[in-house]
Symmetry: C2
Subunit: 622 residues, 2 copies
């Protein structure tokens, strides 16, 4: 039976047929790997995700973590036991370090394969998987800028799954606007255990996923805070921000969790979805504990002072691709559930069948149901393609043969990242809504799975930068920096796909789509120029969200054409099952070019007109 | 402080400035009414909704009805007590009969005013209000086709709020396809208490909202079932369907609830939203009770045998407008919550403000937030306008002066009903999503209200006919029946609005929108012709959902232009607050014509091309 978590056939197509992950094995870092080792990692992931992650996905949603008093005024969190069992199995399989160096007991998997491996866990249970991804993101950040001793003390236990990590950025008054954080880090007159300079942190952090739990021996909080100047004042803006490690338990001389640090759970947020992931308000240094007999939560500076945001953003590209991947796979799993339902649910007859004695047909035979399934396929497989293409660019950026290739991959990746984060978060929620619709009333009930995917997925347009923030990032930074070099990198890559449609033997239909894509992209370039030519930054950026959405649709059309070109060459001589798969790719491409890409036309026209409707709207008129 | 439930200013604009509800008081049925009595009804509604419905909306969501054993194997439902308190107050105010004849202790309010009154309750608490609307819909159906005795026994107590009603259509295997229901109604050899012919029903009904509770003295189930032919077989198709009253408690000789009928709760559906409304699987005649010492649930035939569906559909237009209204007001209340939040939440600075020492600004000052608020305003006030316009047509259909006017209103109403049901269900969920987005992470938590509106509202594209069913209804029936007379009625009405833009003194901008609207409508007419000219019903109807969505957007553009024309004439000489209100209407109209109406262009082009992408898609290719 085909898995309803992910389609392995599609993953194999994307990884091995389309993105040629196998070619990476010729590079020094991946020389021990082969198609077989990649497949083995995917097999392991599928098995653990199927056996231990998926089964408690609904239970975790229905039994969200609760805050309990733990004596002495301290609060802990109660989580259903299946979560720890699943995470322990994940760590025991060595997967926490799947992408890391051998030196850290890692597997040195390429990013594109690692992301495909992780996709299984997110699709099976996004809430339980969140504990993993925060730990990996935390470890990746520290590996970029921490001292060897910090790596030894905190990163190694995380990569072994003994400690888990968090990212503590937001505060109640500072969400999208990180420059306004007020958590203070005062230098501690006393040194840390090994003579390391230490700080005392005080402040409140909001929206801290995995901020409190008993799933691992320690929690390594990565905290943005400000070191006061000589006058005791905080430096305004992002320039004053530094990065700190603040462990839940201080380490003893053997590196084992010891004395309790003064980081305490002040409250849990109760979310619409992702309920199984604790999401906490944490108080630092409020005085509940007095580590070392002094006030303030003990923290260790990571990297240089005042470089906190830059250091934190080391991992932002990958974290954002991770969000896009999460959105995409929640789309895929809901689509597979809807597909299964549509094949098995009899209801109604064709419009031309008037005989009520004839048996009802499976609803997949209704055109409107196929429309909803085909839209889901186009959105979710398009999103998967985009996200894995970006992951492949990470590999190119790190290990391509020439400096020029690495730089070019980096530019492409920088441009595509806000799209890879935002497009799946928008369109795979739409896919989830269609999955509900295919199920009819059943889809609206918690007895079925799809409503949870819809609720879970709605988060992705909010966290790791809201939709609006990524619109500003794409139009306000990525489209203009380096004198437009990022945009030119995308043009060059997209033009290579278009050129591929002109090779002999390509079907006329795909050639027509290539022309359609090329024309849309030229419009994007012209609109970008026009938006900057208007000379008023407020007008340039007013409709940045529309720019993000329009460019996103063009980019995904490109992903579809590129997949379709490959599918059309593979179709000749393919075995029956494979032929069906390739025909599905071609039909989804057709859907995207007939139904979806035309939607950008009015968006690009709106942008080209430098429309000020929203800019001109006044508070008093609402 | 402005209510966050609904905007009374906008309601007053729609009812009294735009739809001229006051003019109805010149008609015989409404001659006792005045602007003052209409306003008093709205005041009462606002007060009860604010005081007794809104306060338990979240509590009801968090504490959904549970099934409890009630001894002897029977199950009852436990519901938080605030629900009954609210419903009792509603009934005590006489509102259950707000639209009914004086003869039934009704208020004889026009439909358009009644809908506006009911809007307060739905917006404040959709789950508690559902008990009301099912009862009203049930009563309206019975008033159309029941016997005087049935009206006396069942309708009067419902209109007084002593009994509540349900609509029992769907079965587990027959949702959208009602022709496949299998509930049997066998003639009972024994007569009913007053010599009335009675039936014994057996079968299972699914998705029965308000199907079990203790909120009223009795539950009057309106049940679709089939009377077997002489051979004992059920007549296939819709022709075999009859309509029955099946009370939870049989009535004694005084009309009071007496012996328990054999309708029992078999299970509750646990929904994503609308959690406070019980939604039941009911078993009829399974033998738990033996009313009158015999097997089968006792039912009374309503209207002629085999006319069940036609009788049930008497109330479908109004029920569907009710669904559209529910979707619209859930959009409005979320919008008002988001607006309030955006005015009070400081976060970030303008793109051109680089000084981090400057205080953060309220997020309504960010253009992208205004985009999201303006879109919500355009969607939700557009939906309100459409729904109330339809309610006004109900009044015209029933009480216009000439038969021609009544017939024309009926045609307009028939065409617009699938749109009034579906457009708000689609776009006001989108508005709810934007309301979440305006709140950022807070919006994703259950500590705030907007995520519940989003969950509650997602039902509306499913019940009372799915989105796809209404697409088929609009394109497959409404656009073609009576040789296109319905479409021509819309053309005539829309053309009157366009002509209004050509009057002297109208701003050039509105004249341009009128031309844009006229051109879009002409495309709709051409596309309709082309779809039927293709000669293959499967192709004609393949993309009916796109037709529904495109026509819906054109119709709402029409509603916006019509409102804007009025606002522009009122603006001259208006007091400051009023002027702001009218400017808001004009800006929302501008938004709709710049941002929304252009979206139909690619949809209409797709339809005109008789696109077969979804029709051609094969099961095996997914």
């Amino acid at each position: 039976m085909q898995s309803k978590i992910l389609s392995r056939r599609d993953l194999d197509f994307l990884l091995f047929e389309w993105l040629d992950a196998e070619s990476l094995t010729s590079r020094a870092r991946f020389v021990d790997h082969s198609r077989e080792t990649f497949s083995a990692a995917l097999d392991t992931a599928e098995q653990i995700a199927t056996d231990l992650f998926a089964p408690h996905n609904k239970k975790s949603d229905c039994n969200e973590p609760t805050m309990c008093e733990a004596g002495a005024g301290a609060a802990i969190v109660a989580i259903i036991p299946e979560v720890k069992t699943a995470l322990d199995a994940f760590a025991a399989a060595g997967l926490m370090a799947a992408g890391q160096d051998y030196e850290y007991d890692g597997m040195q998997l390429p990013c594109v394969v690692e992301k495909a491996v992780m996709a299984w866990f997110t699709a099976a249970n996004v809430a339980t998987s969140a504990y993993i991804f925060l730990t990996i993101a935390n470890a990746n950040t520290l590996l970029k800028c921490a001292t060897p001793r910090q790596v030894e003390q905190f990163v190694r236990p995380m990569l072994a799954g003994r400690f888990f990590g968090t990212m503590c950025l937001s505060e109640p008054q500072a969400g999208s606007s990180l420059s306004d954080i007020t958590t203070r880090a005062e230098p501690d007159p006393a040194d840390g255990p090994d003579g390391e300079r230490q700080y005392r942190l005080t402040g409140n952090k909001m929206w801290i996923s995995a901020g409190e739990h008993d799933l691992a021996g320690n929690i390594v909080h990565l905290v943005l805070a400000k070191i006061p100047g000589p006058d005791g004042c905080l430096i305004p803006g992002v320039k004053g921000i530094s990065l700190f490690i603040v462990p839940k338990f201080l380490l003893d001389e053997h590196g084992a969790p010891g004395e309790r640090n003064d980081v305490v759970l002040a409250g849990l947020n109760h979310k619409m979805g992702n309920r199984g992931t604790t999401n906490c308000l944490l108080n630092f240094g409020e005085g509940k504990y007095q580590p070392g007999g002094r006030a303030g939560a003990v923290g260790y500076l990571v990297g240089a002072p005042h470089q906190g945001l830059a250091n934190m953003f080391h991992m932002m590209n990958e974290a954002r691709i991770g969000v896009g991947l999460g959105a995409a796979v929640l789309g895929v799993t809901a689509y597979l559930h809807a597909l299964d339902y549509a094949r098995n649910r009899p209801q109604g007859r064709h419009p031309t069948e008037k005989d009520p004695v004839k048996p009802q047909v499976a609803i997949i035979r209704h055109t409107d149901v196929r429309r909803m399934l085909l839209a889901q396929k186009a959105y979710t497989e398009g999103a998967m393609a985009l996200v894995l293409y970006c992951a492949r660019l990470v590999d190119e950026q790190h290990s391509a043969d020439t400096q020029a290739a690495r730089r070019d991959a980096g530019r492409l990746l920088d441009f595509l990242t806000p799209i890879a984060k935002s497009w799946p978060a928008q369109w795979c929620v739409e896919a989830n809504s269609l999955a509900i619709q295919v199920h009819g009333g059943y889809g609206y009930t918690r007895e079925y799975n799809v409503e949870q995917f819809y609720r879970d997925n709605r988060l992705n347009a909010i966290h790791e930068g809201t939709h609006g923030i990524h619109g500003l990032d794409l139009l306000g930074r990525k489209a203009s920096i380096q004198d437009g070099a990022l945009l030119r990198s995308v043009s060059a890559a997209l033009t290579r796909t278009v050129a591929g449609a002109h090779l002999p033997g390509v079907a006329a239909e795909l050639l027509a789509y290539a022309a359609q894509l090329e024309a849309s992209w030229q419009q994007v370039e012209a609109v970008t120029t026009a938006l900057y030519a208007c000379g008023d930054l407020n007008k340039t950026l007013a409709n940045a969200s529309v720019y993000l959405e329009a460019v996103g649709h063009v980019v995904v059309a490109w992903m579809w054409l590129d997949q379709a070109l490959l599918a059309s060459t593979r179709l000749a001589g393919a075995a029956a099952l494979d032929a069906d798969f390739y025909r599905g790719k071609l039909q989804a491409c057709r859907y995207f070019f007939h139904w979806e890409l035309p939607k950008v036309q009015p968006q690009l026209e709106l942008l080209a007109s430098i429309d000020t409707t929203t800019l001109d709207m006044q508070d008093a008129w609402f």
